[in-house]
C-alpha cells in the first residue's frame, strides 16, 4: 500500500477551480516532484495535503488516515515547509527549534535530544546561538527544514524549497533530501526549477491550471515527451566572432539544414541547437552514427567547430512538451 494516496482531489474557490481531479500515489522513501507554472494549483494541493485547506471533493489518505476526516490524527505524520521560511525575529536557532519541539509536545530530555539531533543532521550546530535574522537564506532554509523534522514525520511537503538559494545551498539541500528519502521518508517537492527537480526526484507530477497533465518516473516522462519518432538534439559551437563570425554561423546553419536527418536548427545563446529525427526504433548507436555523419559534413566544409555534443532531453523539455508550451 502507498504511504500517500490522493484520489480525485478537487478544490473550488467560488467559480474558480484551483485543483481539478488530481490523483497520484507516493511510496515511503520516494521523492515526488510537483511541477507546474505559477498558479497551476501546486501550493493549493500542498496546503490540502498539509491539512491547512479542505478539498471540495476527493480523498487523501496518509498511511490509511484520511487527511480530510481526521486531520488531527494525520498531522503528526507530516511535515510541511511553506515557500516562506517562517522564522521569528529575536530568536536564536536553538530557541526556534526548541519552541517548535515544545509545540509538538516533546518534553524534557527527549526534546533536547531531538533538537540536538536535528541541528546535527542539518549542520546547524555551530549556529545554534545565532539569531535567525542573522542567518543567510540557505541557513534559514535549513532551520525551516529542521523544524519540519522535529517530530519525525513520515511525509515531507516542501513548497519551492530551492527558491532563492545559491548553487552551493541547493546542492546541500539536495543531499539532505536524499538522506531523508534514504531513511524511508516520502518527500513531495513543488518547484518550477525543473533541472533541480530532475536530479532529486524519482517521479514527477506535471500540473497545469489545476489539472494533472502527466505523472510517472522521470525517465518515463522524458521518454513519453520525446514522442513516437526518436528525436535527438545536438549542440554545436563555433570558434567564430565578429562580422566574419556571423557569416560562419550562417554557413554552418545552412550546411546543417542541408543534411538529410536534420529537422531544424536554432540559435541558442552562443551555440546552435540541432534536432535530428531518427527512426522510431532507433537506438543510441544509430543516434551516434547520425551525429558522426553530421560532424564529418561540418569538418569537410572547413567550419571551425570547437564543440559538438549530444543534448539530453531534460525535465524542462518534457514539461514544455506536456504543457504544449503554455506557461503562465
Amino acid at each position: 500500500m502507498s504511504l500517500l494516496e490522493v484520489k480525485g482531489l478537487r478544490r473550488d474557490y467560488g467559480a474558480l477551480r484551483a485543483v481539478d481531479d488530481v490523483s497520484f500515489n507516493l511510496e515511503a522513501g520516494g521523492i515526488l516532484g510537483f511541477i507546474g507554472p505559477n498558479g497551476a494549483g501546486k501550493s493549493t494541493t500542498l496546503r490540502i495535503l498539509a491539512t491547512l485547506d479542505v478539498p471540495t471533493a476527493g480523498t487523501v489518505l496518509l498511511d490509511g488516515t484520511s487527511l480530510v476526516d481526521a486531520p488531527d490524527r494525520a498531522r503528526p505524520l507530516l511535515g510541511y515547509m511553506p515557500d516562506r521560511y517562517g522564522t521569528y525575529d529575536d530568536v536564536t536557532v536553538r530557541e526556534f527549534l526548541d519552541f517548535f519541539a515544545r509545540a509538538y509536545g516533546l518534553k524534557g530530555a527527549q526534546r533536547k535530544q531531538r533538537v540536538d539531533s536535528v541541528m546535527e543532521f542539518t549542520g546547524l550546530g555551530p549556529l545554534a546561538e545565532k539569531l535567525t535574522t542573522e542567518l543567510s537564506k540557505g541557513m534559514r532554509q535549513r532551520v525551516a527544514l529542521g523544524r519540519t523534522l522535529l517530530h519525525d514525520p513520515r511525509l515531507l511537503l516542501l513548497d519551492e524549497p530551492a527558491d532563492g538559494l545559491d548553487p552551493r545551498a541547493r546542492i546541500e539541500l539536495r543531499e539532505l533530501l536524499r538522506a531523508l528519502a534514504d531513511q524511508g521518508k516520502a518527500v513531495i517537492i513543488s518547484s518550477h526549477i525543473l533541472t533541480e527537480l530532475a536530479e532529486i526526484c524519482d517521479s514527477c507530477v506535471i500540473i497545469e491550471q489545476g489539472r494533472l497533465l502527466a505523472q510517472g518516473k522521470v525517465e518515463d516522462l522524458l521518454r513519453q515527451s520525446a514522442g513516437p519518432s526518436r528525436v535527438t538534439e545536438l549542440t554545436v559551437r563555433l570558434a567564430a566572432a565578429g562580422d566574419e563570425g556571423e557569416a560562419l554561423w550562417a554557413r554552418t546553419e545552412r550546411t546543417l539544414l542541408e543534411q538529410p536527418r536534420v529537422k531544424d536548427v536554432a540559435r541558442e545563446g552562443g551555440a546552435l541547437r540541432v534536432r535530428l529525427e531518427l527512426e522510431a526504433d532507433a537506438g543510441p548507436a544509430q543516434a551516434e552514427a547520425a551525429a558522426a555523419v553530421l560532424l564529418a559534413a561540418l569538418v569537410a566544409q572547413g567550419l571551425p567547430v570547437c564543440a559538438f555534443s549530444p543534448r539530453e532531453r531534460n525535465l524542462e523539455d518534457a514539461f514544455m512538451t506536456v504543457t504544449q508550451g503554455r506557461v503562465a
Binding site: V91, A103, V118
Partner: protein, 507 residues
Amino acid sequence: MSTQASPASGATESAPSPGVPAMTSDRWEKWGDRLNPLVVKEVRQGLRTRVFWVCFGLLLAACLVLSLIAFGNTHASTYTREGRTYFFSFFVCLALVHFGVIPFNAYRSLAREREDETWSLLLLTGLGPRRILAGKVASFLVQAALYASAVGPFLLFSYFLNGIDLPTILMVLVMGGAWLVFLTLVSVCAATLADSRMGRAAVRLGLVGVLVVTFFQTLTFTFVVTQERGSGFSFDRDFFLGLGAAFWLLVSDGWLVFETAVSRLSLVTEDYTRHPRRALVVQVLLTFVGMTAVWWFMDKDDDIPGVMGILGGLHLIFASLFMATDVDGQSRPLRAGTRAWSLFKPGALRGFRLSVLLLLGWAAGCAVLLRLSDDSTGSLRMAMSMVALALYGVLYLAVALLLGRMPRSGRFASPVSVRLLFILVGVMGAGVPPLLAVFLDLEGRDELLNLLNPVLGTLNFGRYDYSDPSGLKMPPELLVCVALVALLAAFAADRVLAERERRAHQQ
C-alpha cells in the same frame, strides 16, 4: 555537513545527574514543560525587543521623577493630601503601556504570525487555535505584569502621601487589570478578522482608534473615581451594581470574542461553531439569572428588565448577524452526528434557528420580569417594545438571508454580503417609512406606516399610552401583526437555508 545523525532515530534517554541543583533544575524543567510553549517563546522574544526596554526604562524614569517631586512637596509642608494626584499620575504612566503598547503589540504579534505564514506552522504542531490564542494573550499579560512590577511600588507609595484610601487603590487596580485583559484579548482576536492586506490595514487603523478612545475613557473613569470621591461621588449601591455589570460584560464578552476568534481560525472540518455558540447561550442564561437576582434584590424595579431587555436584544441581534450568516451545511466528518436541532453545529440554518430562539427567548424572559415588577404602570409598553425589537431583529435577519441566499446564483450569498444586506435593509426599513409619511402628508412617526420600521416601530410600541386618548395607538394586536410577518419571513428563510444545506451536502 553531517547527515550521519538521524533525527528519526528518536532515542529518548536522558542523563540524570543526582544532587539538589539538578533536582531543582528538573523541577523547573517539568514546570516549564507544562506551560503553553507560546508563553515561553513570546516572553523570551518580547524581552529582547527594544520596545520593551525603552518602555520599561521610560516608565521607571517617569515614576522616579514624579516620586522625587512628591518627596520634595511633602518636605515643603507638614501635611498634604496629594496622594490621589500622584496616584493618578503614576496610573497614567502605567496606562500608556497597559492600555496602549501591550494591546497593540499583542495585535501585531498575531497579525505578523498570520502574514508570515508561521501561523499555519503553529497549527500543524497540534497546538490548535485555542492554545495559540491563549498563549498569545498570556504572554503579553506576563509582559504587562513586568511593567506593573516597575510601577507597583510607586502606586503604593502614593497611599503614604495621603488623600487616597486603599480600597480605592485596589478597586482601580482590579478594574484596570480586568480592562487590560479584555483589551489584550480583543486586540489579539482583532488580528484574526482580516485576511487581505487592505482588510488588515483597516483593522489596524480601527484598533488604534479604539485604543486611543478607550485610553481616554479609562483615564476619565480613574480620574472620577480617585479625584471626585467624597465630593459628590461615592461608592454606593448603584456604583457597585454598575461596576459589577461592567465586570460581567468584560468577562462574558471577552470569552465570547475569544471563542469567536478561535472559531475563525479553525478549519471547516472542525466543529468550529460549538464553542462560540455555547458561550453566547451561557452568557444569555447567566445574564438573565444575574438580572433576575438584581431585580429581586432591588425590590422588583421594572427599570432593570426594561433596560436590559433592550440592550440584550441589541447585543443578540449583533451576535445573530454572525451566527446566521455562516456558510451552508457542514463538512463531511460532522454530518453524521448532526440532527435537525443540533443548534451548536456549523451552518447558517442552525445559526439562524439559534438566533431566533435566543432573541425571542430573551425578550419573553424580560417581558415576564416586567409584568411581575411591583411598579408595572408602564410595563406593558416596555414589554411590547422589547418584544418588537426582537421581532424586528428576526424579520430583518430573515429578509437579508432570503435576499442573499434565495437566488440560485449565490452572488450575494457570502457571509459578508448577507451582513451588508442586513444593514442595507435595516437602513431602508428605518428610513423609507418616515420619508413616505412626508410625501403622504402624515406624521413622521405614524403608527401603521412605521409598523415594520425597526427604530420607530420599537419606539412607538414603547410610547403606547392607554391613558392618553390622543396619544399613539399601538395596541398588542399590532404587535401580533408584526409577529406574524416576522415569523412568516423566518419560516421562509429557514426553508431556504434548509434547501441550501441539502444542496451543499449533495455536492
